[in-house]
Symmetry: C2
Subunit: 338 residues, 2 copies
C-alpha cells in the first residue's frame, strides 16, 4: 500500500502557545487535523470565559482558511464553582489540572490533589459532565512521578465514578493496569512516548530536543504502550503534546521541557503502525476513540499520506527557530500536498 | 573548625585535553593538587612512548612554577606486547581501557573485553605489574551499562589475580559488592557521583552541564557510594573525571558528555565530608589510598581551605568558556590564597 487516507484526525493534547509562537506553529495542526484539544497553560493561563473567547479568537484568526476545530480547555482552579462551570460548559471540552510545578507554566496549579481542596469543583464537574484532564505526576524522583501519582488517579476514579478522567500523555507501563481497572479512566499517548526511550535522550550525546515531561521512559515502557495502541485499545486517544520552545531555550544551560512534533506526527504514526503491520488500528487511535470518549463531532477532513521519503526539516518557524522531533531524520511517509 | 589542611592531594582521574583547552584548565589541577592521573583520550589518543613524552612535556610547559606530577597513562591497544609495555613501564602509571563507543574519543578502543583479543596484553601487564584502568560500561541501556559490565570486571579480576584493576568513576551501587569481593579490584569515585543524581540532571529543567558518562544515577546509588567514601574505604581513590568541553558544545542539540569540576572539587569535597561529620576520612580518600594502591610518592604539598563563602563562577577560561560543576552556587569553603 502506497497511500493511506486518515479520516478526521484529531490531536487531543496540543500546546500552541500564543502570540508570535502561535502564529508559527498552529498551521501544522490546523492544516492536517480536523481538530485539537488546546491546552490552557498559556502565560497567564486560561481561567475565565473571556480568556477562552479571546484565545479561541486568536487561534481562529491565525489559521486562515483551514477547517479546524480548536477544542478549548480551562486551567483547573479549586475556586471554580458550579455556577462558573455551567457558564463555560459549552465553551470547553475539559478542565485541565496540573499538579503544581511539574510542567511548563503549571505554577498556578494545585499542590497536590487534596480532595478537601478540589473535591467540590470535581463534584460539580461530574454533575455537569465536564471531563477532567490531568498531567498526573508527583514532584518525586523523575522516573517515578507518574507511578507515584497512580493512587491519586485511583482515588479520583473511585470518588467521582461518573467523571470522565483523562490521564494525559501516559508514559509508564505501570499506569496501564489502572486504565483497565476503572471505566471512567481514559488516556492520551504521544508519538514520542511510543517512539523513543531515555536511551535516545541520554545514551549517546545529550539530545535536548527529546527532553520532555513526563520524561521518556525505558524500552519496556515504550513497548508496553506501543502494544496497547497498536492493538487498538479503545480508551486511548492520540495526543501529540506537541510543545514548541525556541531552539535557544532548548539548547541552553537550563533547557525547557517539551517536544515539538505537530508537523511530523501523522507521518511518524503511519510509519510506526505500518512497521508493526497494524495500520488498521491507526484510524481509531487518531480519531474515533476521541470522538466517542469526548462525544464530539469534529469537521470532516481527509488527510492522505503517500509512501515517499520525507526528510524532517532541522527547524521549523519563520521568525522563531523550533527544532522538531526527528529533526534531520528520514521518514518513509509524506503528507500529500493538499 | 574553620580551616582544614589537605596533605598532598591527588586527582586520580583527570582529563585536561591538549592545546588551548589544556592551557585553560591545567592550572586548576596543578596549583591545588600534588599530582593527577592524566587520561590518554586526547585526539588522537596517547599510544606511543613519543606520545607520552610530548604530552607530558606539553603539560609541564603549561603549569609554570606549580609543583605537580602529571602521572601519565596510555590508551589500551591489544597490539601492545611485553616488549612495548616494558619500554613504557616507567613512563606511565596505568594502561587505560575504553570499551568502544562509550565515552569521549573512545572509538579507537576495543569493542568489548574479549580475552582472546586482549588477554595477551593483560597478561603482560600483570607480569610487569602495570595496573589496568577501565571505563567499565557496556553499550547497553544507559542506566544499566555499569551493572552489565560487572561480569567483565569479575572475569578480569579472576583471570589476572595479580593485575591491579581500577574500576573508574563507579556510579552504581551494584558495583560495590564486586569491589569488596576481589582484592585486586580498586575504584575511583568523582565528586559529582557523590553529589548529584539523575533528578538534578532531568528532574527540573534540563541541565546539560550535569550530563556525563557514566550517567549520574539514583539517590540510592549516590548514597551508597557516599557511605563507602565517607567511611574511609581503603580501596577507593578520588578521581574527579573533570572533563572540560566548551560551553557551546554542552549547550547544543547534541551535547557532549563530561563535567568540568577541577576548580571546585576540593571545596566541594570538604563541604560534603563536613556535612556528614566525616572530615577525618577525607585525607585518605584524597591522597593516601592512591599512594598505597599505585605505590607512588607524589611531591609534598599542603593545601588549606578556609570556611568562607565561595560563589562558584558561572564560567572558567579566558579564550574558551567552560561551565563548571555547581556553576553560580555558593559553597561554604574556599581555597586559601597561596
Amino acid at each position: 500500500m502506497d497511500r493511506i487516507t486518515l479520516n478526521t484526525p484529531l490531536d487531543m493534547h496540543l500546546h500552541i502557545r500564543d502570540g508570535e509562537m502561535l502564529r508559527e506553529v498552529v498551521r501544522y495542526s490546523s492544516r492536517y487535523f480536523s481538530g485539537g484539544l488546546i491546552m490552557p497553560n498559556t502565560i497567564p493561563p486560561i481561567t475565565t470565559k473571556e480568556d477562552i473567547f479571546s484565545y479561541r479568537k486568536e487561534i481562529l484568526n491565525s489559521i486562515e482558511n483551514d477547517i479546524f476545530e480548536p477544542y478549548m480547555s480551562i486551567f483547573f482552579k479549586s475556586s471554580y464553582d458550579s455556577q462558573f462551570l455551567k457558564s463555560v460548559r459549552d465553551d470547553i471540552l475539559v478542565v485541565k489540572l496540573y499538579p503544581s510545578g511539574v510542567t511548563t507554566n503549571s505554577d498556578g496549579g494545585v499542590v497536590s490533589v487534596d480532595l478537601d481542596e478540589v473535591g467540590d469543583t470535581l463534584s460539580a464537574m461530574e454533575q455537569l459532565d465536564i471531563p477532567l484532564s490531568i498531567h498526573g505526576e508527583t514532584n518525586g524522583s523523575v522516573f517515578e512521578r507518574e507511578a507515584e501519582f497512580l493512587p491519586t488517579y485511583e482515588l479520583l476514579a473511585k470518588t467521582f465514578p461518573k467523571l470522565r478522567i483523562i490521564m494525559e500523555h501516559i508514559s509508564d507501563r505501570r499506569t496501564i493496569e489502572l486504565l483497565e481497572k476503572y471505566s471512567n479512566l481514559f488516556a492520551t499517548i504521544t508519538l514520542h512516548h511510543l517512539a523513543i526511550t531515555f536511551d535516545d535522550l541520554l545514551g549517546g550525546a545529550l539530545q535536548p530536543h527529546l527532553f520532555c515531561k513526563p520524561i521518556v521512559k525505558s524500552g519496556k515502557d515504550r513497548d508496553a504502550l506501543r502494544d496497547l495502541v497498536l492493538n487498538g485499545h479503545p480508551k486511548i486517544m492520540f495526543g501529540s503534546d506537541s510543545a514548541p520552545h525556541p531552539k535557544e531555550k532548548k539548547e541552553s544551560s537550563n533547557g525547557s521541557a517539551g517536544i515539538f512534533s505537530a508537523p511530523i506526527v501523522l507521518q511518524g504514526l503511519v510509519e510506526l503502525f505500518e512497521k508493526h503491520d497494524k495500520l488498521e488500528n491507526l484510524q481509531p487511535f487518531i480519531s474515533e476513540n476521541a470522538r466517542k470518549i469526548y462525544r464530539i463531532s469534529p469537521p470532516q477532513k481527509s488527510i492522505t499520506l503517500v509512501r515517499k521519503e520525507f526528510q524532517v526539516p532541522t527547524t521549523y518557524g519563520e521568525k522563531i527557530e523550533i527544532v522538531p522531533l526527528f529533526a534531520g531524520k528520514k521518514l518513509n511517509w509524506s503528507l500529500e500536498d493538499v
